[in-house]
Amino acid sequence: MRREAPKSLADYAPLVFPGLMLIVFFVVPFSTMIAVSFFQRDPAGFYTVAFTLDNYGRFISLFFGRVLGFSLMLSVLVAICCVAIAFPFTYLLTKQSRKVQTVWLVVLLSVLSLSEVIIGFAWSTLFSRTAGITNLFVWLGLMNEPVALLPSFGAVLTGMVYQALPYTVLVLYPALVRLDPTLLEAARTLGSSPVRAFFNVVVPALRNTVVATVIMVFVFALGSYLLPQILGRPQHWTLSVLITDQAIYQSNMPFAAAMAVFLVLISLALVGLTLFAGRKENAL
């Protein structure tokens, strides 16, 4: 069947249900959220209709600035750690047999699909005093007595890298699978070692992919809403945690909505940047 332009109104019929669903249950909720961000807080209910910029005005505070700065810093760190670990890993993975690749992909997908609740719980157990990794160190004679490694910044970072690592590998996988093997063969023929060929040929050839992946993982890490709460102290809370907290526990939906709109803008700008980076690579 050749692709053809829709001729009659009936040809649009398949679009009705998905279009309606996406508009009613995504576009409308999204717009509602934007509208609510200009409303006033109602401590007894959800909100009262009004027009105010106060919710956005609250951004100009030391507290908010600190949370924002911390969120961005943490996400950048997570993204860099993930790509640094995942890039060589994914590269080596694509050189393995189909069977080995399949097994790893199943493992990565299983970890990726894990609930943030479960990841948080698992790491809080691993970092706990009674059941944690320090017991192993004590047994090995590296430490005198088991200690709790959380709440701490290190625990938050580790948990978030754990959460984002499978995602990073799966984002990098298609680009690395399709990497032209003759590039590497040429480098090898010219006498470069596999490690040097990797750093001198593979990494530069995929520079834009690396940049795009860092940004994708950055946005992914910005979305982490529970790990900073479970594994960190209040000063380790991120924008996502703050939004959840304001919406649910402080029942300040308008302020939560304003922060969410802000988060959307950051995310969209960054996703736009990755599309730009991707386009440049395709043009080359």
């Binding site: 998905p18 399949t102 992909l105 609740v117 719980f121 698992a122 799966l170 959840t244 969410a260 995310s267």
Partner: protein, 266 residues
Amino acid sequence: MRQTFLRRLYFFAVGLFLALPLIVVAGVSVNEKQDLTFPPVGFSMSWYQQIFADPEWRRALIASILLALSAAAIAVAVALPLAWFLWRRIAPWANVFQLLGVAPFILPPVITALGMLTFWATSGLYGQPWTAAISHGIFFVTLPLVTLSLGFASIDRSLVEAAATMGADDRTVLRTVVFPLILPYLVSGYAFAFVLSLNEYIVAYMTVGFTIETLPIKIFNALRYGYTPTMAAVSIFFVAVAALVFGLIARFGDIRKLLGAMASEG
């Protein structure tokens, strides 16, 4: 030689990092007493029985499964006609809907969650069980949409043309040629959405968190009030379900191909 060793070591290190928390959780889940200790003291599978025997955990399990089954069905029902239309017709503006289908997945989940919360609160339907199914269905539309687009793209158009030349109308072609070809992609899209919905916390919490407890919500609530080994057992149960589903997809389909295109489409 040395390089093979280093490569193996690297794979081992990444594997260990991914497995370590799960090993410890699996360990504490078989403790005999209700203690958070590792290595486990004694051995007992009773905490796994708790998931099905304890009325509260069982209720959460049933709620989660019902939610995931219906949410995945909604996601597929939205994605299938959309992917079919985009493959069949030349209508560039319709790509807007594809973008809308992918957006909830790319943006931080808190945003979709809060959008749903404000929407259901404003419409007065807040807390109804089915609102969570619709919210999850929209949130995870991306997965069947990507797998189905991939499925349609892999159909050899001459096959379909042959059927049309032989006199089959659109509906017949769809039923006898197109549908069997995309069925594996439909099933994997459903399975992806099912597993992710089963594990999803924030959207479920913001839509029905005060009326229904799904398993992730139940685990989080339990986590705040103290530790029970049942949480560990449920976590391992979830890992097993995910591994089983993705293992089956890998066994009967080509997961490499599925993922090779998946991220580039997103």
